[in-house]
Structures are given as C-alpha cells and as structure tokens.
C-alpha cells in the first residue's frame, strides 16, 4: 500500500453531495433532537426543514409548544412531544436512564421501536452515547461503539475514530474500531478501498503504549483490514491513510488540536494578507483557493460525527451547529440508513463475537 500524496482534490461537497440523494426514492425517517445544541431550537429546526423532503422525512422531537410555531404547514416534518431536556451538565448515564421524557431518550426510543431510522442530536454527547447504548443498542458482537469523525484534510477528507466515546480502550476495541472505520469509509464516505492506520508515536510496530502495541498485532492479523501500520500525528493531515484508529481520549485531543491549529493558521494568513497592497493583490489571486481551504476545514460541511457500532445511525452534531450543519447531519443519517454500514459491521464483527 502506498502513501496517498498524489490523490486528486476531493471537496467536502463531493462527499456530502451524494448523501441527500442516497438511496433514490427510498423514504428515510430521521429524528432530529430539536432541543439539542447551543442554537436550539431555531437553527436546529431550520436545518431540519432544509434537509426534509419527500424522501427524507424529519421527525422533530422537543417541546411541541416551542417547536410547532417554527414549522410551516406542508413541510415534510412531524413533531413528537418531549417536554424534558438533558442539559450539557447532566451526568450522561444517569440522565439517559432517568430523563425518560427528554428529547434524546424519546427520539432514540422512536428509532428503537422502528418508527424512525436514524437520530441526529447536537446535545450532550455523553448522554447521546449512553442513551443510544440503552435504547438503540449496539450491534451484537460490537464491544464498544466509537464516535467516527470525518476530518477535513487536504486533498481529501479522512475518518478518525474514536473521538470520545471511550476514554480508555483495550486492544480488541481498537481492532474493532479498525473494522468499523474501514466499513464507514467505504459505505458513508464512498472511498472504495480505504487504508487504515493506527495512531502511535512511531511507525515501528513496537512503538506505543502496551495497548497500542497489542492492537497493532491484532489489526495486522485481521486479514479483512487494509492495514497500513502505525501512523504518527503529523501523518494525519498528510493523509497517509484514509482511516485513523485511536482511543477516545487521544482522538478527542487530536481532533481539537488540529481544529485549533487550522483556525490559527487561517487567522494568521488573513492578517498577513491584510498587511499591504501587494499581499492584498496576492490574496485576491488566492481567494478561490483560500475559500476552498476554508470550506474544507468547516465542520458544518459534514454536520456531525457518526456513532458507529449501533443498530441504527446516530449522528452527533457539533454543539454549535447552525442550520447547515444540522441539515448535513440529517443527510449523513440518511446515507447511513441506505448504506450497508450496519449490515457490514454485523457481518464482520457479529460472527466473531467474543473473539479476542
């Protein structure tokens, strides 16, 4: 397997454009947590309305008295009343169990009962993970679900998992993440033959923590995974591989470091361009490329991260999501439903349930 430096540029739009129309005429029902996120309910409802259509039916779950006035007559949207809200400070497991009238629990129960196909929330991430485990349930054989994020990279996006569902992971969990991440890259991102790397502190198999060293051996021995080997932090943005596997703590730190660095570089670039007429002219010439770069780095493009390993797609949107982010999260949910992701994971991990 070779490094992928010569790949053509793939914009986020190239990835997401296929989502809204995925599955053709098949009607998919996506639940949207109308109470979740910093900009709920107005932006969330706006995003849901933008994504809804004859083939994508959106079920808004939240306080009906608040949500109803925001929805025009005739929209492909229905409303399910949930008076309670799980806040950002609520303890995830306890809230998921006890706040049974909350939008997150009511919405996930709709999916569990087969009354909806996918779930989107910009609310409390821990509570969404916990409630998904309790009500949507993991695919048999999956030991831990993982939050899989599409990382804005140049020239094309990659998948990074886990970015926060599991702070500590055993080697077998990381092997399962490799299998699920590969399936996600194929089924949701449309990468035909993705390569998988294990994040470590050196490319040699013996580099890393004991868990990472053992995980390397397990993944290397799994002939279904197109395993590149270990990758280092600096290789992520170089796009050495299509899928990067790590534990939730490291993944979260990695994601936020890259997001912060990218933002810092763009700010520095802008202030440099503003310095003089000469650089302003240069900046104008580069305008298209810079806008493309800004678009590629915008988390709203993908809408959210996918909780892989569950019986149905659960999309965890950024807490600060605006309408466009929510709409793209709904599209990602649709793509998750019509793709073979859940079936592939069940096939790959279900038959090896309990295997270590």
């Amino acid at each position: 397997m070779t490094a992928s430096g010569a790949r053509p540029y793939v914009s986020p739009h190239d990835v997401t454009a296929a989502w809204s129309g995925a599955g053709g005429d098949r009607v998919v029902r996506v639940v949207v947590d109308a109470a979740g996120g910093d900009n709920a309910p107005a932006e969330v409802v706006r995003g849901a309305l933008a994504a809804a259509g004859p083939q994508t039916h959106v079920v808004l779950v939240g306080d009906e008295a608040v949500v109803r006035p925001l929805v025009p007559v005739g929209a492909h949207v229905s409303i399910v009343h949930a008076p309670d809200v799980i806040g950002s400070h609520d303890a995830p497991a306890s809230a998921a169990r006890n706040k049974t009238e909350s939008s997150i629990v009511v919405g996930l129960k709709l999916v569990h009962r087969g009354e909806a196909d996918a779930f989107v929330s910009a609310g409390n991430t821990g509570a969404v993970v916990a409630a998904s485990l309790l009500y949507v349930r993991r695919i048999p054989g999956v030991q831990r679900p993982a939050i899989c994020s599409i990382m804005p990279c140049m020239p094309a996006p990659i998948a990074l998992l886990d970015i926060g569902a599991n702070a500590e992971c055993r080697p077998e969990h990381l092997r399962q993440f490799a299998v699920m991440g590969q399936a996600f890259a194929i089924e949701v991102m449309g990468i035909p033959a993705p390569t998988v790397g294990l994040l470590s502190i050196g490319e040699e198999p013996e580099k890393g923590t004991p868990a990472v060293i053992e995980a390397h051996q397990l993944i290397a021995a799994d002939e279904r995974v197109r395993f590149y080997g270990n990758v280092e932090g600096r290789d992520i943005m170089n796009r050495l591989v299509d899928v990067v596997v790590t534990d939730g703590f490291t993944g979260n730190v990695t994601l936020k470091t890259i997001e912060g660095a990218a933002r810092g570089i763009l700010t520095a670039l802008r202030s440099t361009i503003d310095l003089s007429v000469k650089t302003k002219v240069g900046g104008l010439l580069l305008r298209r490329d810079l806008l493309r770069l800004r678009g590629a780095l915008d988390p709203e493009e993908y809408g959210g991260a996918f909780l892989v390993g569950m019986n149905a797609p659960v999309i965890i949107a950024h807490g600060s999501s605006k309408a466009r982010g929510i709409a793209n999260a709904v599209h990602q949910g649709r793509r998750g439903v019509v793709s073979g992701l859940q079936g592939t994971i069940a096939r790959e991990l279900g038959t090896r349930a309990g295997a270590v």
Binding site: R97, A130, L133, G354
Partner: protein, 81 residues
C-alpha cells in the same frame, strides 16, 4: 425462577448484550475488576435486567450490585417481595 435460572439469564445478558466472555461469568465475578465492564455497561445491564425480569432497580440499589452474585440475589429478593 430458581437461583440457577436467574444466574443463567444474567449470564446470557452479559454475554449477548455486553459481549462478556462466557467462561468468566461466575457467581463471584466482579463486574468491573473481573468482567472489565465500565459504568455504562452496568447501566445497560441494570436496564436489561429490569426489562427481562419485569422489576425496577433504583440508582442506589444498582450502585450496590458489584458482582454477578449480587445481581442474582437482588432479582431473587425482588421476586419474593
């Protein structure tokens, strides 16, 4: 249900829902130390037990369930009540 039947049911939940290695599930097995389950797994176990045995388990009661034997005893006691 007999104690053995309850144990088998709890074992089934642990193996099928939480992918715990069946050989490790004994009455003395501690959830966190021996079966390597985390706090979320335990919530999942408690909720599945509530569903399968038709009982209610409060958060305080759930916190006291630390071994497979504790879980079996709890179900037996609740069934008698």
């Amino acid at each position: 249900m007999t104690r053995e039947e309850v144990f088998e049911k709890v074992k089934e939940i642990l193996v099928e829902t939480l992918s715990v290695d069946a050989d490790k599930v004994t009455m003395d097995a501690r959830f966190q130390e021996d079966l390597e389950t985390d706090s979320l797994d335990l919530v999942e176990l408690v909720m599945t037990m509530e569903e399968d045995f038709g009982i209610k388990i409060s958060d305080e009661e759930a916190a006291e369930i630390k071994t497979v034997g504790n879980a079996v005893d709890f179900v037996m006691k609740r069934a008698e009540a």
